[in-house]
Point group: C2
Chain length 408, copies 2
């Protein structure tokens, strides 16, 4: 069994935050039905594409899947329903009646325009958990503003905390503004389903990108840092300790963090600077002497390879590692051992494609959380209408001819 | 009711990842019992402190709470048990027998040294969900390496994706290496509890910091970006589109993202450059002309205040916002409206302290997810031993005299 087996979740999401949220739920065994319009989410049109015969730069037919849905669609069934048509909306409402949860990441108001906001769907299925991911939430002065990862990073203050003191505010190079609210949304949804199981009623789960980034930011006491005069951003180091940061080696960079006095004592001996140990004999003094300590550490690292430095530091109990290039992980022995990345596979091919995607970063001892490959656009339209809604072939044909549902 | 009401979770965690994970669970209504040694986690000794009478730089008595436990301890009961003593371990095992889940973030092997690894606890309580957060996971070549946020950021490749093309790999200024695995751990734990409710058995949930950051990284196709020659890091912009990035104003910086052709058409008119609209009439051409477009946008933004620029861009449907200082959020009208930050309060004071902490970034329509204040070290030792384990006053006194349990 998988943890979320037996739960049916409708995925009306687009782009990043919602599709990743529903990917986590699918990997944990929920029956996720991705509902898309006839053209599919915009990400279906961004190259490259993968077909049954491998990767190519442009789409050639209905069996081609763009890289984003190939990755974020893993574990999901794919159904095409035109929610702007009356017949399509009626089909969708029947699915809502037979589902446990729904996730959408439209701007506030869009679901209401479609006649499918929480109040409407709650009347159809009071047990439904309705999860919405938006930029700023369903209320407040910024409610109707368009939002994107970069903008919410800027407004949250995260950019002002990233980068070097003598450089500009800097974007976090991964889409934390999308993905982190996606994880919180999955957590809120599964938790609200537990409340539903106990109480018998669903509810609206409202996750905002800005709220999620504020939570990331303010886990540290930004207000106290202001009081004691710490800089907004401190590059790769931390003014509260030393040595900590990135240091050049003969073939790259390494990162290290000194945790505790004993490790620092061994470090001073390792780099041949016992004199520093006498003068910097506690964390406060080390912070005061950080420029001198950093220079001494760099003198030692610069004449050695990253492999040598990381091995020697790990040996003395220091937290240390290579600063790896962005694409390195595919060949990292720990990533390989854990299966943290997997080759993405087209559903009609036994061979994996050339592209990689992340596994769900949760392992469980009694559940296999590796998802099935993504489906093509509308691959399961007929199967879901037949199996979940008990519609006959004639009715499905009728709906297809009306354009209310679609298949490849 | 709250979503996780009725679940008892033992929190054996330290520093960031585990304490934040258990804070989310506590905010959603789980009975989280934080179990600490007689001295408390190291974070209890980091200034500043908050007592019943307000903030001060050093601790003055057992009622003082350092800022980290004041923030990450919200919603939790606090119990002191010496797990290194036989009597303390016996008390802990009785708690395990009466709990639903446990979270720890020791290095692999530490719980086994204490005689409290999953195999031992599973024998005591087969329904227990045991959640472990580690740097690299419970297996693989890096298993025993010490890990810290900065180091895992480096090894995952995230630093190489953050910063400017002509600058060095850059640390993400918030502790994504700790907090993101903490969110995934909470998601895994709640999901495994659902499987437990269905199947009747708990399991081991194994979340690694490296796996979590690999998931953040590889939600984008890093391998495809290599194929088409995109730079590892792109500063605050994105070479696949334009205009996108941060731009100077007369009093700071703003961030903007162009989503769709219609917004760009309105933007060209707004900044008085209809000539650019003719030459850059689709996304590909805009990317090619990005330097010229960026210069034109900056010419326009530079002569206006950030307020003026964001208002004008929001008006035409552009995703835009101020690049806010790190400490800004406290006074942001949207953050205030949503209650995304709250003043931290000492449990024995009715007045909030001067320090702020983040709310759980999940809102639910039928549950109030605002947590109670944190407790002092060992504040609930007696209450938990009495109420959960049915121990009498004499037995509690005996355990206290042995040093097996502690109270303030």
């Amino acid at each position: 069994m998988k943890p979320l087996e037996g739960l049916r979740i409708l995925d009306l999401t687009r782009i990043v935050s919602g599709p990743t949220c529903c990917f986590y739920l699918a990997a944990m065994g929920a029956e996720v039905i991705r509902v898309e319009g006839p053209e599919g989410d915009i990400t279906w049109r961004v190259p490259p594409f993968v077909g049954p015969d491998g990767a190519h730069p442009g789409p050639r037919g209905p069996k081609d899947i763009a890289l984003s849905p190939l990755r974020r669609g893993r574990g999901k069934r794919n159904v095409v329903i035109d929610l702007k048509s009356d017949e399509g909306r009626a089909v969708f409402e029947q699915l809502v009646a037979k589902s446990d949860a729904l996730v959408e990441n439209f701007r506030p108001g869009v679901m209401k325009q479609l006649g499918l906001d929480y109040e409407v769907l709650e009347a159809i299925n009071p047990r439904l958990v309705y999860c919405s991911i938006t930029g700023y939430g369903h209320d407040g002065p910024y409610r109707d503003r368009p939002s994107m990862d970069l903008v919410v990073q800027a407004v949250s203050g995260i950019m002002s905390k990233t980068g070097f003191p003598d450089g500009p505010p800097t974007k976090v190079g991964v889409t934390v503004g999308d993905q982190v609210p996606g994880i919180f949304a999955a957590l809120g949804l599964v938790s609200a389903l537990r409340q539903r199981d106990v109480e018998g009623r669903g509810q609206l789960v409202d996750v905002a990108m800005l709220d999620a980034l504020i939570a990331l930011m303010w886990d540290e006491p930004i207000d106290h840092y202001e009081d004691v005069g710490l800089p907004e951003r401190a590059g790769n180091g931390d003014p509260r300790g030393s040595p900590i940061g990135t240091y050049p080696t003969s073939d790259g960079w390494i990162a290290l963090v000194t945790v505790g006095e004993a490790v620092w004592q061994r470090m001073g001996e390792l780099i041949g600077r016992p004199d520093l140990l006498e003068r910097a004999d506690d964390a406060v003094r080390r912070a005061e002497l950080s420029r001198e300590i950093d220079a001494a550490v760099a003198d030692w690292t610069r004449t050695r390879t990253s492999d040598e430095v990381v091995a020697a530091l790990t040996e003395i109990g220091m937290a240390a590692g290579h600063v790896r290039p962005a694409g390195h992980a595919r060949s990292d022995p720990q990533v390989q051992h854990r299966g943290a990345l997997e080759r993405l596979r087209h559903p009609e091919s036994d061979e994996p494609s050339k592209y990689w995607g992340p596994a769900l970063p949760i392992r469980m001892s009694r559940a296999d959380l590796r998802p099935a490959p993504a489906e093509t656009l509308g691959q399961s339209t007929d199967a879901i209408l037949r199996d979940v809604l008990d519609l006959g072939d004639e009715e499905i044909d009728r709906l297809r001819k009306l354009g209310a549902v679609g298949t490849r």
